[in-house]
């Protein structure tokens, strides 16, 4: 969801999300996993998806564009806040600010 927020509703789709995760976290993720995760988030009502226009570089197939819903944004806020709160005061132990 963080990656989707970075990209914005017109550019977030499976492949670009995977790219952002790789660039920002250095961790490679499989496209199939992103696809499954998006579907799960959608079912939980945290994101919505719509099909974009057909694109020649994709063999005439559309992208499934991901929009983070307000519920999703809220979930991200809660989670990051929790992580920050838990990590607070551990700067020496884990190195650098969180």
């Amino acid at each position: 969801m963080l990656a989707a927020l970075h990209l914005g509703p017109d550019e977030a789709y499976t492949v670009s999300i995977a790219d952002v995760i790789e660039v920002r976290s250095g961790r490679r993720v499989r496209t199939a996993n992103v696809h499954t995760t998006v579907q799960r988030l959608e079912r939980k009502g945290l994101v919505s998806t719509r099909l974009g226009a057909s694109r020649p570089e994709r063999g005439g197939k559309p992208r499934r564009l991901v929009t983070v819903l307000p519920e999703g944004v809220e979930a991200v806020r809660v989670t990051t806040r929790a992580v920050r709160a838990l990590a607070d005061g551990l700067e020496d132990a884990i190195g650098g600010a969180v």
Binding site: T14, A32, R58
Partner: protein, 900 residues
Amino acid sequence: MTIPRWVAWLLRRVAIPGRAEDAIGDLNELHARRAGRYGRATASVVSVFSAMDMGVALLRQRMGTPRSAREEPYFSPHGGIGTRREDMGSVIEAWVRDLGQAARSLSRARGFAGVTVVTLALAIGANATIFSVVDAVLLQPLPFADADRLVVIGGTAPGTDLPDDLGVPDELFVEYAEVVPSFEDVALYNTGSSTSRAEGRTEQLFLTGATPSLFSTLGVQPVLGRLPTGEDDDRVTVLSHWLWQDWFGGDPEVVGRSYLFAGQQRTVIGVLPADFRFPDERTAFWIPLVIRPGEVTPGGFGSEMVARLTDDVDRDALETLMQPLAGQVQQRLGGPASYARIMEQYRPVITPLRDHMVGGVSTALWILLGAVAIIFLVACTNVANLFMVRAESHRRDMAVRRALGAGRAGLIRRQMSEALILAAAGGTFGALLAWFGVPLLIAAAPEGVSSGFGGAPVPGLATASLNGTALVFTAVVSVLAACAFGLLPALRFTGAGLLGGLREAGRGVVGRGALTRDLLVVVQTASAVVLLVGAALLARSFWELNSVDPGYDKEDIFTFQVAVRRDDLRERAALSQFQYEFMDRLAALPSVETVGFITTLPLDEGAGSTAVTSRQIEASGAEPPRVRNAGAGGAYFQAMGIDLLEGRFFDRVEEEQGIPNVIISESAARLLFAGESALDQEVRPSDNENSPWFTVVGVVEDVRIDDFRQDPQPMVYLPAVSGSPAYVLRTTRADQITSEVRALIQEVIPESPMYRIFTMKTLAANTMASLSFTMLMLGIAAVLATILGAVGLYGVLSYVVTQRSREIAVRMALGAQRAGLRRMFVLQGGRVAVLGVVAGVLVSLGVTRFLSTLLFGVETLDPLTFVAMAVVMVAVALLASYIPARRASAVDPMRSLRTE
């Protein structure tokens, strides 16, 4: 740049309708990106994997979504809107679900699953192993163009006591080539071995001499240089691919150079392709066999002919057409009376090239294929039985499901799922077994009986491996197995009568399956009996053949050949002098007792054949008999353990000077001098009137010359010296002495390679190889089948005992004796087994004749073997019944009745 269409098609089938398109788009985009980065080929491979990954993810998404939530409107191509009821994805989903369930339920029934998988793995493994070899040897096309039109033509002269395969004499080859219209191309060839020297190596190599037409007949082109033509004389050679690689490191410059091949300097003119092996893979090089139609000397037998037939030739008609030609040729050319007699009786023999190359091993392979097919049958019936028992124990469960509305197809699918999983596991382990089994089988397989060189390797055998065909075969067999044993119970318990089954379920009644189960046991027992009888017949033959006294010893004899070609040894006396010095050196080696030599060794090169006459026969005008002959020297008879019956052995002077004395065998003495002592009588070859008379100085024991199956033939030994004899050493270290002998040769005659190195024991084993190999394999199959049969019987009876425990309890409560109960169950098992044994014996009566070519000293319908094996099988069956019977009699009536 997109992923393949079929991949997209598959993804659409597994995804929730409408959810596949964007995923396919993602894959396309990534594929294009990868292609730009790593190249097309790599991208394709990686993309297939990521498509599989995506497919799994899509299927998971689908299975994690309730059906109601995923039914999106479906726009039918024919117009109209509806929802898709059973698309392929939901079928796959159902299968995946059932397979998962089946795997879980199997993991709870480990005993059942284990026995099934092991049984199937053994059967499928055996099948795949044998099939791999059969495929390589018998089914793969020979590496020649239109190989099915190639035949080998030999000849035989029945009634002339000549060897069975005479070959084609040069003059008849010329006649055939001119006269017979059905030959598109013909060639004459013969084989031998000779010392060759090149690039600092000296070895005895196998060679083939052939008319230049050999290569056009077989349809081969050289990879380097050219092929011989009619203009080439006998001073050129073409190399085999392996010799070119081994000796010359694949150097293309070799063409045009000259080396010592087959006794003279020859110019290499070409190299043949790697897969060209003719007449077999040992041929190192080919030299031209020059035949000029006008200048042929008649009577040169021993070559063989290979011909390419025109389309649609009837082989019998061809033989009839060729038959009179031999007589016509003889009348035109004349020649001595013995030649006329042979040509009068001469019959052409036409054999398809493959049969000629594969020889006797094909019988063994087909028998093996039959045996493993039987094993497979036993394994399948066994597994079917196990499955039926399992299905019956699930009967109530299934009836309930059905009653609650489960579809019939669904129930069958559940049953099939278990069968498929087990068959897949069995197939996988079976393929693994075959992977290891094929090399073992190749190592154990006998050498074939091809022409010329004696035991030639079976073509294709060495290169046999667990190939694609065999794997497909294994896979098909596994699926067939799954169907065979999965569907039978599934169909029986999902039919209309199932609901009736609900009523009786759980009451401990032995169901209607009893007849089917007994039938399966009968099939198993019968199959095991067939294999037991076959294996026992072969074992008896082996024992009989092994206890034949060949006239010479098999133990403690080492033999080898060495060819001495030195200018200072041209004279007979000098060569004899050298041989004796050489034999003295050999005799001085540790543990060597005696040393002798012979021109042609029994069981290896056999012996020559010639018609001989005595003064008595000549006077009576009778037909001179044909005997085998060879030249002996040194202490040959003592080293071989051939006993002297009368007279004396040769002495050194006789050999040195070639004094016309002979030693003859017992049967030759009887044949030539019936009723008289043979000593001091005289013999000579009948077809040479200028030959001196030879005086008989000794009579020795008869020996078996070509193999142990043949009765000893009359034999005449001449005192000999020879440039390339087989030396025979009697030593207790026959297995280990090779390196010492080699070192000695290196010291005395370094220019001569040592070859045809054997012990008499290996030669004896080789002559029986085809039999011992088949016996071993059939023996293993028979033991396997018997064990499987016993397990099957045991399983069925155990099940019956469990099902009838209440009945047993009632009987015991009413006063039945334990011994009586035991007897009842043993007899029940015994009855079924006896039926199986009877059926097995009847089938065996029909099939043992396929073994007839391998048998020795025992009839195909040997009553003793049949009875003995029937008794063995019944005994095994009774034993297998006894264990469950004992359990039945150990039932505690009170406990059993209370649990009900």
